[in-house]
């Protein structure tokens, strides 16, 4: 078997130093973080230079690895499975449990690595100017660098434990950065809200990881020699048809809950708009382009698990598409009623994340990943442009209606980059968003999810409309408020408070000179990002034919049945296993050894597509039918053929949306005399809808008032009621009865013998009644009692269920 394999195997896949050492990419910013924390304040640029240098170094490493990966793909044949470059070491070892750490580098991780390193570099350069003179300048750069380390670590993660590590580091940094100006109560509340909301979802991550580990571990140990945490192992395991349906569904749903929290999907999206309380570079990096796509990344990373667990393709609807579809429309509608420019962008981000999720749920893996790629550029650009406006024109205000308007004359560069990114976001033809978003919509429809295709088109229409509204309010019309040179100190905006920081005052002096273009540290990142917003679509320009589909070729894992070394030998010897069980064990021990030694993959993992005997395996489709021998790492996906008519239709929808929104905006905000002004106050139904949107569908009310209070208050009230009516009643009744009985005994039986005892018991009863009265104090001890009693009841239930 082995000799046969080596003769028919294709030439070995090329590799390279950067590819083999991709694990260094997250280590660089991690080291830089430690250096900034300890020595940052003593450095000439307060530590920011370390952050920027580390990000640039990471970028160089990531690009080097990406180029070598492209080389690797180009060197392979069409039918060949491109093995990810996996390296693994023992991270820790405790009581016989071994946890690995390492790298799992394939097209997906390299895409995100390059994006994260690139945007982090630009945002840090931008922050040099944006946060100049800030009180916690060094800490800001330290947190940004740590965030990048966490995100990069999550992306290169070889197993779920490493992924969780990066995931939680990101959550922590998100908390620190949103609350960067924590002196303002609203900011620290937003930070806490973001942290707790994502933590709520993170429970799902832990549960899902555990469920998958215990379901998959024995299979992966036997067949691949890796633990059940390994991403490669989980992917292969999910596609074998071996796992029980319940286990994989529970695991996938639990993991998806984590993705809902992290990626701001409905109904846990409420934290993301509030997270805009952080400095704008943070919103640009964490809360639009990188961190919030972590959930999308997780779904894409463990796609086989979700593919099987959610039954993608198996039915016309599944949890991921539903959540994604709802998120698109719900968030896009909310963007219309925002007056804060960053909140418009925040809801836009939520909506775009919905597109990615919907795409993944409908089997459009590649378009969704490509949308992560393009969205990162244009959304980061939009946020940085918003930051540029507030920094140089509107006196640190983000209120479009109050403090902006007419800025295109004063800020030509910001305006141009904003327009390019807006067109990209809306999906107008030559811009990046068209090639990704339209692909998602197209593929969703092609895969049979017609309803969701319509949802996508509606979302595209809404996107075009609200972005036009925001653009109009910001750049057209007459300057208002701070943009018009008015200075006002109490514009009630949380972001505005930091300009009261001591060091900021001198810097702010120029704001009173009226709006002007920002300096080069801000405009150069904007221009770079705008260029990418314009051109990034060409990386995977489906409309121009197959030769332009570079990302598909480089990134999409090929759905080829792989003859794994260990697995192949087991498969070969399956019939004679009882006689010769030594061989598979030998083989199994060989596989992990080779992986651990850092070699790209055992030779036996090369596919045998060309071979006659195994030819059938290559044709057996991964995911829809279980391969009899061999292993799949990726399900078979379809690609919709591009039709110009469909593309033209969606562009037309976008343009119509822009036009309508433009006309309405002109009527409402400039002429102020049309039909539209005061429409919501005239029409009851519209007013209702407007109120619904302004209150964010009352979701925050639901969470805070209904759920938190609803659970806490009735319990308190019930306890009070029980105390007042039942316990007191019992006690008082007991006292009363005792006294009655006592009286009866006293009168009728014996006055002298029982007298003292009865009086005593009456007094005891009354005393107990008094002691029982203040039961509703709401104190820790009562919660403790409830907790332990509940634990006991739960134990009882478990015992009863299990016997």
């Amino acid at each position: 078997m082995f000799a046969e394999a080596s003769t028919v195997a294709h030439e070995a896949l090329s590799s390279g130093w950067f590819l083999e050492h991709a694990f260094i990419i997250p280590i660089i910013p991690a080291v830089a973080f430690a250096l900034i924390i300890f020595f940052g304040k003593k450095l000439p640029m307060k530590g920011s230079e370390l952050g920027i240098l580390s990000m640039l170094a990471s970028l160089v490493f990531a690009v080097g690895a990406a180029l070598q990966w492209i080389n690797r793909v180009n060197g392979a044949t069409e039918e060949q499975f491109i093995n990810p470059v996996i390296r693994s070491w023992t991270w820790w070892n405790s009581g016989g449990f071994e946890f690995g750490i390492g790298q799992h580098i394939d097209g997906l991780s390299l895409t995100i690595l390059v994006v994260v390193a690139f945007i982090s570099s630009l945002v840090q350069i931008y922050s040099l100017e944006y946060l100049r003179g800030d009180r916690r300048y060094t800490h800001f750069f330290a947190s940004l660098t740590l965030f990048s380390a966490g995100m990069l670590n999550m992306v290169v993660a070889e197993n779920m434990i490493q992924l969780i590590l990066g995931w939680e580091i990101m959550g922590l940094c998100s908390f620190m950065l949103i609350g960067h100006w924590w002196e303002e109560g609203a900011n620290s509340r937003a930070a806490l809200k973001a942290f707790f909301t994502t933590r709520t979802g993170d429970i799902g991550l832990l549960v899902g990881t555990s469920v998958l580990f215990f379901s998959a571990n024995s299979w992966t140990q036997e067949h691949l020699g890796v633990s059940g945490f390994s991403i490669r192992g989980l992917s292969a395991w999910a596609l074998t048809g071996d796992p029980s349906h319940a286990a994989i569904t529970v695991g996938a749903v639990a993991l998806f809950i984590a993705c809902i929290g992290k990626s701001g999907q409905f109904p846990l999206h409420t934290w993301l708009p509030d997270a805009m309380a952080g400095p704008t570079p943070v919103s640009s990096l964490l809360h639009s382009s990188t961190m919030v796509v972590a959930g999308v990344f997780l779904v894409a990373r463990l796609y086989p698990v979700f593919f099987e667990g959610m039954n993608i393709f198996g039915s016309g609807v599944n949890l991921i598409t539903v959540i994604g579809g709802i998120t698109i429309v719900v968030a896009a509608a909310l963007a219309f009623v925002q007056t804060d420019i960053k909140k418009v962008l925040a809801y836009s981000t939520v909506s775009q994340l919905g597109y990615m999720m919907m795409g993944l749920g409908a089997g459009a893996w590649m378009p969704a990943v490509f949308h992560i790629f393009t969205h990162a550029f244009f959304k980061a650009c939009l946020f940085l442009a918003a930051g540029s406006i507030s920094h140089s024109a509107s006196h640190h205000s983000f209120e479009m209606k109050k403090d902006m308007g007419g800025l295109r004359k004063f800020m030509p560069i910001t305006f141009t980059t904003w327009i390019i990114s807006t067109l990209a976001l809306c999906g107008v033809f030559p811009f990046a968003g068209f090639f990704s978003k339209d692909e998602i919509i197209d593929n969703v429809g092609h895969n049979g999810y017609t309803v969701f295709m319509v949802v996508g088109l509606v979302g595209a229409f809404l996107t075009a409309a609200y972005m036009t509204r925001a653009t109009y309010l910001t750049f057209f019309g007459e300057p208002r408020g701070a943009s018009a040179g008015e200075s006002h100190d109490d514009h009630g905006d949380a972001h505005a408070t930091h300009d009261t920081h001591d060091a900021h005052d001198s810097h702010d002096a120029h704001a009173s000179h009226g709006p002007h273009e920002s300096n080069l540290l801000i405009t150069v990142p904007l221009m770079i990002l705008a260029t990418l917003a314009l051109g990034a679509g060409l990386f995977n320009a489906t409309p121009f034919g197959e030769s332009w589909e570079r990302m598909t070729k480089w990134v999409e894992p090929r759905s080829v049945v792989v003859e794994d070394m260990a697995h192949a030998s087991v498969g070969e010897t399956r019939g004679v296993r009882t006689e010769d069980t030594v061989a598979p064990e030998l083989m199994m021990s060989a596989a992990p050894a080779a992986t651990a030694a850092g070699e790209e993959a055992p030779v036996g993992e090369e596919p045998h597509a060309a071979e006659g005997e195994h030819g059938a395996h290559a044709e057996s489709v991964c995911g829809t039918s279980t391969p009899t021998t061999g292993i799949c790492y990726a399900p078979q996906l379809h690609h919709a053929p591009f039709k110009w008519a469909k593309g033209a239709m969606s562009v037309l929808i976008v343009l119509v949306g822009m036009l309508i929104s433009w006309l309405i905006s002109v009527q409402m905000y400039t002429k102020k005399s049309g039909f539209f002004v005061g429409l919501t106050s005239r029409n009851k139904l519209l007013a209702l809808g407007y109120g619904f949107l302004v209150n964010k569908y009352y979701l925050d009310h639901l969470y805070e008032k209904v759920i938190v209070h609803g659970i806490a208050h009735p319990i308190a009230k019930a306890a009070y009621w029980v105390n007042q009516n039942i316990l007191d009643g019992i006690v008082n009744g007991a006292g009363l009865v005792t006294r009655r009985v006592a009286g009866w005994v006293y009168r009728n039986v014996d006055q002298r013998v029982v007298d003292g005892a009865v009086n005593g018991s009456g007094a005891v009863a009354r005393g107990t009644g008094n002691a029982l009265r203040p039961v509703q104090s709401g104190k820790v001890s009562q919660y403790g009692a409830l907790l332990f009693a509940a634990a006991a009841v739960a134990g009882l239930v478990l015992i009863i269920v299990n016997t």
């Binding site: 009581g95 203040p774 039961v775 409830l786 006991a792 134990g795 015992i799």
Partner: protein, 164 residues
């Protein structure tokens, strides 16, 4: 084996009485002294369970150090060391049903799962060397984590308790 059973019975009775006194007496210092009795009893039980090293550590750490800490804490936070009222919550009675319920459930579970299973009688005392092999071998990582916890606790206690 009868001797061991008798020893167990006596020590267990002392422990239960001591524990009940800990949670019922109205004097903090007395409660601490009753707790010493319970902890000593626990150490004796550990020896019955062939855990010599753990028993010695129990005596050293708990009775030697933790109790001193408790007494210090009592003295630093209380003017009078004598009896005092209001050591209990007004809702102390809630603890009775909660703990009785818990006890009932646990005893039910224990009797149904272990019945009258016997402990091995021929085992020797576990040597300190074996424990150290285990701690510095497979359980090295928790050991490190624990060292870290202790360090943080020391720093935290200093930060919390210092006057400034």
């Amino acid at each position: 084996m009868v001797a061991q059973n008798i020893a167990f019975g006596i020590i267990a009775a002392i422990m239960v009485v001591g524990a009940l006194r800990v949670v019922t007496v109205n004097n903090v210092v007395h409660a601490a002294l009753w707790l010493v009795l319970v902890l000593a009893g626990a150490a004796a039980q550990y020896i019955l369970l062939t855990a010599e090293f753990v028993a010695v550590t129990q005596v050293l750490v708990y009775i030697g150090a933790v109790m001193v800490l408790f007494l210090f804490g009592t003295m630093l936070t209380r003017a009078q060391l004598g009896k005092e009222k209001l050591l209990n919550n007004p809702t102390w009675y809630l603890g009775i049903p909660a703990s009785l319920l818990l006890l009932g459930v646990m005893i039910m579970a224990l009797t149904s799962s272990f019945g009258d299973e016997k402990l091995p009688t021929d085992s020797e005392l576990v040597s300190t060397q074996a424990i150290s092999d285990q701690i510095f071998g497979p359980y090295l990582l928790p050991f490190w984590a624990l060292s870290f916890v202790l360090l943080v606790a020391v720093i935290g206690a200093i930060v919390l308790a210092r006057k400034d």
